[in-house]
């Protein structure tokens, strides 16, 4: 239970932490803004979790996937708008949607097993360890990205942000094929023997840039197209670059 809690907390908290760090490096936000966005996201997660059992029965047991696809697309658009315009509304929408998407899973896990007296301590310690690892990783990533930003400008940061946002579209795509909205295409490559998504590095890369060991053709096309579109817009709209150029 301890290891499961640790892995669960890493899986669900790391994507939120990474996005927060990347947005923070693009344009530093006040502590109040970050805290309020995360807090609203946590409340939304709780509400989403409360209604999830009911929503899951919509559209022939496919309601949750539709709502999650909506959240993934919202995150991509909000992050793109934030990269281009640095509007606080975009920051709020991106963070709240991400927290809602990922934290709701963890809340479901926590609330389900918390009442089990044997599991309580393991849940607490696992969550604490997972949060600590996320925090350490976030601090390292923050300083690394800041260094890269001051040395090489905004483009490496936008590139990582583009990959990270495109990864949300991959999640949406997987959800869409899960409910038969789209048909899976042939697998482009199989890297399970080289780097499994289940490994530590695989999980970090998955949270960072959406690594998939067995992507299908549609996933590769959507990932590349959306990343290129994201970067092109960052190049084409100069305000986003000149504002933060150092």
């Amino acid at each position: 239970m301890l290891i499961t809690s640790l892995v669960m907390s890493l899986n669900q908290l790391l994507p939120v932490a990474i996005l927060l760090v990347l947005l923070q490096v693009v344009k530093k936000q006040s502590s109040l803004r970050i805290c309020s966005a995360v807090l609203i996201g946590a409340v939304m997660s709780f509400l989403y979790m409360q209604s999830a059992s009911w929503v899951s029965q919509w559209f022939e047991h496919q309601g949750l996937e539709y709502s999650q696809i909506g959240l993934c697309i919202t995150i991509f658009i909000a992050v793109l708008v934030f990269a281009l315009k640095q509007k606080s509304a975009a920051f709020y929408i991106a963070v709240i949607s991400t927290v809602t998407l990922y934290l709701s899973h963890y809340i479901i896990y926590l609330t389900s097993f918390w009442q089990n007296s044997d599991a309580g301590q393991s849940l607490f310690i696992g969550t604490l360890l997972g949060s600590g690892i996320c925090l350490s990783f976030s601090v390292l990533l923050y300083f690394l990205m800041n260094t890269i930003k001051y040395r090489f400008g905004m483009y490496p940061l936008f590139t990582l942000l583009a990959f990270n946002s495109a990864a949300k579209l991959l999640v949406a795509l997987d959800l869409a094929s899960q409910i038969d909205l789209i048909t899976n295409t042939s697998t482009v490559w199989d890297l399970r023997d080289v780097l499994s998504e289940n490994s530590e590095l695989g999980r970090v890369l998955r949270a960072l840039v959406g690594y998939e060991a067995t992507p299908d053709l549609m996933s590769v096309l959507i990932y590349s197209t959306s990343s290129v579109l994201f970067l092109l817009l960052c190049y084409v709209i100069p305000a986003s670059i000149t504002k933060e150029r150092v």
Binding site: T4, S56, H61, I108, F113, Q178, I179, D180, S219
Partner: protein, 85 residues
């Protein structure tokens, strides 16, 4: 645990899995091999489509109980014997 924990399906065909969580706690169907992830609520039914897949073994597990809830989808050329349609 998942029952059946071994599902045999035909290659290159889409399959609809109907999963019922008969436990009193939720579980999450998770598979890196299949790129699938879905919360299974207690006493609720859920549907997951998989495939078309090429021949091979595709593992899945319950993310909330990864040590005990494990299974595998076996994709073979022969007609499915235990596919959950």
């Amino acid at each position: 645990m998942f029952y059946p924990s071994q599902i045999i399906i035909p290659a290159n065909k889409k399959v609809k899995l109907l999963i019922e969580n008969q436990d009193s706690t939720p579980e999450e169907f998770d598979s890196f091999d299949l790129n699938r992830e879905k919360v299974l609520y207690p006493n609720r039914k859920s549907i997951i489509y998989i495939g078309p897949l090429s021949k091979g073994h595709y593992e899945f597990f319950g993310e909330f109980s990864p040590n005990t809830a494990r299974g595998v989808v076996i994709v073979s050329d022969e007609e499915a014997q235990h596919a959950n349609n």
